[in-house]
């Protein structure tokens, strides 16, 4: 479905430097039983966030009130494993609008783009700078500028450009999704299908 438009986001960020965070950690399988898209945020990182009795684990970053914001800065190979889009629904439902990492798993990245969460890939060096700046001062603001394809650490002015294809960029800026595009070429698909 059409989603929020994304242009420029300036906000503080939540750091999660752990590497290889798979989608089973983002949303464990036992919470995939809903038949609607809303409400997954409560179980985002469930088993890292809560103990077996459901008490918050103090050491986990989402339970640390010094960190907040719509940007999640994550370790490399974020979102590996299962194709469950529920992982991105949980991230969105919790309140994040952008995930920054030096490396994303493929399906996860596609899923992000398909629901309007912007995945920003930065160099490992820039990711390290972000982690260091955020932990030194949790009030550090980061600017994500989609039209200019630029991410800036506002405290120091250091920035880096990021890649996104023109088609997806335009979709994100306008809040369009792929189905709108595909439905507009229905007869072309019919002709193709008839040949198969």
């Amino acid at each position: 479905m059409a989603y929020d438009k994304f242009t420029v986001l300036i906000d503080t960020a939540v750091p999660l430097p752990t590497e290889n965070v798979d989608t089973d950690q983002i949303i464990p399988a036992r919470f995939l039983k809903a038949t609607e898209r809303e409400g997954f945020g409560d179980n985002l990182f469930r088993d890292w966030r809560y103990d077996v009795e459901g008490n918050p684990k103090k050491e986990f970053v989402l339970n640390d009130s010094t960190y907040s914001g719509k940007i999640l800065v994550a370790g490399k190979n974020f979102g590996s494993g299962s194709s469950r889009e529920h992982a991105v629904w949980a991230i969105y439902d919790y309140g994040f609008r952008c995930v920054v990492s030096s490396f994303f798993a493929d399906i996860f990245k596609n899923n992000c783009l398909n629901i309007g969460v912007l995945p920003v890939t930065v160099s490992p060096e820039f990711a390290d700078k972000l982690f260091a700046a955020i932990t030194a001062d949790p009030k550090t603001e980061i600017e994500i500028n989609l039209p200019e394809q630029k991410i800036t650490l506002l405290s120091t002015g250091e920035s880096e450009s990021f890649d996104i294809n023109e088609y997806k960029k335009s979709n994100m800026q306008n809040g369009f999704d792929d189905i709108d595009y595909l439905l507009s070429m229905s007869s072309e698909i019919d002709v193709f299908a008839a040949s198969r």
Binding site: S80, E166, K168, R196
Partner: protein, 468 residues
């Protein structure tokens, strides 16, 4: 003429339109759906007021959350029941073929697709499940998609995809005794890491791959996603054609001949180039097992867990966090460690050949007292064959508990959960934290290694049990 790869041939023939500075509009021949990743897609179709474009190109089965006991009764878990009922409702409403619980071809979606002969060379196949890569064993482009894309396929039979880069992984030579295709893929992932093929689509080649059965090839392609690849495929050959011949959905008579003639053209041209190539020697591969919390953390059963030498920063922290979760120390051997559960099943190793291998190994033996042994066939068809071949009797005499088909303890969405802190050696595909239940500690291995562990109660190299 331009030299192209098998992957190029299939991909390029399915592009409806190239979007300038964007992805390809990619046509999907066959679409599998299950109860967990499809309900929101159908809900969104309704919100948009549109229907399913080609219902006959989609096939459904409930597998992820279903109980593996009493499948003839109403599902007790309310949320699971609602998802399965939603699937039934949606299939009925849109005229989609459903292989429901209890029917002759119910099972894990990636097991029944090939069994029915729906999966064929040259096709494009997707499903809202990352292990859709399994179908690549037939020389198809098959990969997992998210729910938004499930909706796209239902609505338009297309998705928008950027063409991945190409990788070839060749394994040459003969496999040693006690070494299976599961060991090949765990070995490859341990060498190139859990993210080593991200951005790529893999072609598996070489004599060691060509000599594998279809079941064994499916195990390899199944785990392509575990090194980050979108999918993996193997060129179709006589082994493929023999497997497919006479199955329910494969062409018959003259159409069969025509299909085979086309399928024979589906191979990588000599001299075609890949973006990346790896070569491995089959003789270097031995029984493998994972010791950590991603499938790249694998070693030979006889080896020690790697030390932290050379690691620093978040890499080292992540590694130690993983070992801490598993209750292991860097540098220690895994062999001889006590185990609590063994699980034989899943879309990776829940086919008849896997059950045969386990049964042959444990015949006349008993499982160790400290082991709870679950065996979950991938489909009703596999279950039926296991009964007919006398395998169930052998397994039950050895102390294994046979359950009904489904994804089961591979992802523990149903009641088949490994308790917190317990060790399970599993034939499935993921050893992530909590994958087999909150706090469960999973070690991935081949059906043979799992059988050896069941008998000894400890991490064991299956070749040592053969020798005794």
């Amino acid at each position: 003429m331009e030299k192209t790869t098998l992957f190029d041939k299939i991909w390029d023939s399915h592009v409806v339109r190239h979007v300038p500075a964007g992805p390809d509009v990619f046509f999907i021949d066959k679409h599998f759906i299950h109860e967990v990743t499809s309900p929101v897609a159908f809900l969104n179709l309704e919100k948009r007021g549109i229907s399913v474009k080609y219902p006959y190109r989609t096939i459904a089965t409930p597998d992820h959350n279903v109980p593996t006991v009493d499948q003839d009764q109403t599902i007790k878990d309310k949320l699971s029941r609602m998802q399965v009922e939603k699937l039934r409702e949606n299939c009925k409403k849109y005229g989609i073929e459903l292989h429901d619980l209890g029917s002759a071809h119910h099972g894990i979606v990636h097991v029944i697709g090939p069994e029915l002969g729906v999966t064929q060379p040259g096709m494009t196949i997707v499903c809202g499940d990352s292990h859709t890569s399994t179908h690549g064993a037939f020389g198809a482009i098959a990969f997992g998609i998210g729910t938004s894309e499930v909706e796209m396929v239902l609505a338009t039979q297309c998705i928008m995809q950027s063409k991945p880069k190409k990788m070839r992984i060749s394994v040459e030579g003969e496999l040693g005794k006690g070494v299976t295709s599961k060991d090949i893929i765990l070995y490859i992932i341990s060498k190139i890491s859990a993210a080593g093929a991200t951005g790529y689509f893999v072609e598996y080649a070489g004599s060691a791959i060509r000599n594998l059965s279809m079941e064994a090839r499916m195990t390899i392609c199944n785990m392509s996603i575990e090194m980050g690849a979108r999918g993996g495929l193997i060129a179709p050959d006589e082994t493929t054609f023999n497997y497919l011949k006479g199955r329910q959905y494969t062409p018959k008579g003259e159409d069969w001949e025509k299909a085979v003639a086309y399928w024979k053209t589906l191979k990588t041209d000599e001299g075609a180039t890949f973006d990346k190539e790896y070569q491995f020697d089959a003789a270097d591969i031995e029984p493998m097992i994972t010791y950590g919390t991603n499938p790249g953390m694998g070693i030979k059963v006889k080896d020690r867990i790697p030390t932290t030498e050379g690691m620093e920063g978040s890499n080292k922290t992540t590694y130690l966090k993983s070992l801490d979760y598993m209750g292991f120390q860097p540098g220690e051997p895994v062999k001889g460690k006590l185990v609590d559960y063994v699980f034989v099943g899943s879309c990776t190793n829940g086919r008849i050949e896997d059950i045969r291998a386990v049964a042959e190994f444990v015949k006349g033996k008993k499982k160790a007292d400290n082991i709870t042994a679950w065996i979950v066939p991938g489909s009703r068809e596999v279950e039926k064959m296991a009964h007919e071949e006398g395998l169930v009797k052998i397994l039950e005499e050895a102390g294994f508990e046979l359950r009904q088909p489904g994804c089961s303890a591979c992802l523990a969405m149903n009641d088949d959960k490994i308790p917190a802190g317990k060790y399970a050696v599993s034939t499935s595909n993921r050893n992530f934290e909590g994958r087999q239940g909150p706090g469960a500690r999973t070690m991935l291995a081949s059906p043979l290694t799992v059988a050896a562990v069941a008998v000894t109660g400890r991490i064991t190299d299956p070749r040592e049990v053969f020798e005794n």
